[in-house]
């Protein structure tokens, strides 16, 4: 053991970047509320860097105290501002947050709102060692392993595979609920509720060896037990979303 209490290290962190285009407190609050509603757990307490690089309005039109207050109200933790002209830099001094220089690296341009199937891993954007905060498109680059459940999912239980596929090798009881941001595979009977593409991925699918579900949903488009009963009841089947229609087909 060494005697020193600490060591200084350079590190590359992943944070959410809120890229501001325009600001009016009502429009901003409304959009943020909708965004957070999609994935409350994801945004709760999540540190965020507010980027001013794309902001093309006059300084006096933006009240940074309100901006930070709104972020805090919806659970985000603003930690810094990034980029922007000298005028903005002067204006944010009163907020007490730090200012980071505009990213010299190619920041991910995709907004954090289009989750892709987790299986797709893209090479990370170029790393510049002297940059402390690196922006990456988190939803795209983070790979979460498929969630595997080998026990029956019982009535009253809820299983959520965040940013991943879900495989259940046993059955899912009536009154149970399984969710995944990716695809769902059930190798026993599926009798409960199953929601794939929970964060909006319309390419997600649900597969089951015996389709007896109470509700099936792909990216918020759902069908109920009554429909399933008349079409693929207790059959091997899959559900997918195509041309704005939910397809329920035997396999």
């Amino acid at each position: 053991m060494s005697d020193s209490c600490f060591q200084l290290k350079g590190s590359v962190l992943t944070v959410v970047v809120l890229e501001l285009y325009d600001f009016s407190s009502t429009a901003f609050a409304k959009q943020l509320q909708q965004k957070v509603k999609q994935a409350p757990m994801f945004f709760q307490g999540s540190p965020v860097v507010i980027s001013l690089e794309k902001l093309n309005i006059e300084v006096k039109r933006i009240d940074f105290t309100i901006l930070i207050g709104l972020c805090a109200r919806y659970g985000l933790k603003p930690m810094a501002f990034k980029g922007g002209s000298q005028r903005f830099r002067d204006a944010i001094k009163s907020t007490g947050l730090i200012h980071l220089p505009a990213a010299s690296l190619k920041s991910a341009t995709e907004p954090v709102e289009k989750p892709q199937p987790a299986a797709k891993v893209e090479p990370e954007t170029a790393i510049e060692p002297e940059t402390v905060v690196k922006t990456v498109d988190e939803e795209k680059n983070v790979f979460w392993p498929t969630k595997l459940i080998t026990q029956p999912v019982r009535s009253g239980q809820q299983i959520y595979a965040k940013q991943a596929d879900l495989i259940v090798t046993s059955h899912v009881s009536e009154g149970a609920e399984i969710l995944a941001d990716g695809n769902i595979h059930v190798y026993g009977a599926l009798r409960g509720r199953a929601l794939a593409g929970a964060q909006g991925d319309e390419n997600a699918r649900i597969f089951s060896q015996s389709m007896e579900a109470e509700l099936l949903s792909i990216a918020g488009n759902f069908i109920l037990n009554e429909d399933i009963r008349t079409r693929v009841w207790k059959e091997r089947a899959q559900v997918y979303f195509n041309n704005n229609v939910l397809h329920l087909k035997p396999i």
């Binding site: 026990q151 019982r154 009535s155 009253g156 239980q157 046993s170 009881s173 009536e174 149970a176 009798r191």
Partner: protein
């Protein structure tokens, strides 16, 4: 070390206490030193079914709060030397049971007994969770009808997530399915779920099937566990279940419709 078995169901009125009494008695008949604990604080019934209600002086809650010793509260069965009952308190509520207190009582009992049967209250709240928390094995009592099966499914989920074994990440609680009030004739008529329907939904191994029998009600009212009456089908079915619990391979009886003889048909014609 005793094996701790919880008898639970979620739904009320399916036969938890009847089954606790019968199985506990059955284990004692097989020379296993057994204690049955009534966890249904405030609605105690086990003492009635065991026929020892007049001998209750101290109860489970008294022991937990230190007002009585375990030996003072344990009631020895008059019929079997290996059988003891720890009654619930009728004047308190479920909050009187603390995890620490229950653990101490179970640890003390564990030293002397082979089996501890915990008779759970209905529901999925604190009382039921306390009864199943320390269990090594669980007997899930289910009637062959949909609401009972769904509630059993719910309690199985709680066993897998809220028991001590689940919290400590050890071996999961061993689960057994006990189907009670089974009537093969009504299954054929489509009025009742079949054994395979129930097994299909709950997906746990079957321990026993107790046929619907008038003898159960009679035994309860008399304070004699039904297993002691070897002339009844329910009693025999409970004996079989106990043998399976002890590891024997016993064939199932009374699960198909009997062919009625001429005499029986005449006698039963009026019903």
């Amino acid at each position: 070390m005793a094996k701790i078995i919880v008898v639970t169901s979620g739904k009320g009125g399916v036969g938890k206490t009847t089954s606790s009494a019968a199985i506990g008695t059955g284990l004692a008949m097989n020379n296993k030193k057994t204690v049955i604990i009534d966890f249904d604080v405030g609605l105690r019934n086990l003492d009635l079914i065991m026929g020892c209600e007049r001998r209750v002086v101290y109860d489970f809650v008294n022991v937990i709060s230190g007002e009585a010793t375990l030996n003072q509260a344990l009631i020895k069965d008059k019929r079997l030397k290996n059988l003891f009952i720890l009654p619930a308190s009728q004047t308190r509520d479920k909050d009187a049971l603390t995890k620490k207190g229950v653990e101490k009582v179970l640890n003390d009992l564990s030293k002397d007994f082979d089996f501890i049967i915990c008779d759970s209250p209905a529901g999925i709240e604190k009382g039921a969770q306390m009864a199943l928390y320390f269990a090594d094995e669980a007997i899930v009592v289910t009637n062959p009808e949909v609401s009972s099966v769904r509630d059993s499914d719910r309690i199985l989920g709680i066993l897998q997530s809220k028991s001590r074994r689940a919290e400590n990440g050890g071996d999961p609680v061993v689960e057994h399915l006990l189907i009670t009030r089974y009537d093969p004739e009504r299954v054929i008529a489509g009025e009742m779920l079949s054994i395979s329907d129930v097994e299909d939904i709950l997906a746990i191994p079957l321990l026993g099937v107790i046929p619907e029998s008038e003898a159960v009600l009679k035994a309860s009212n008399q304070g004699t566990p039904v297993i002691l009456d070897e002339k009844t089908k329910a009693g025999l079915a409970y004996s079989d279940a106990v043998m399976r619990l002890l590891g024997s391979n016993v064939d199932y009886r009374f699960i198909t419709v009997e062919k009625k003889g001429f005499f029986k048909r005449m006698m039963g014609a009026g019903r």
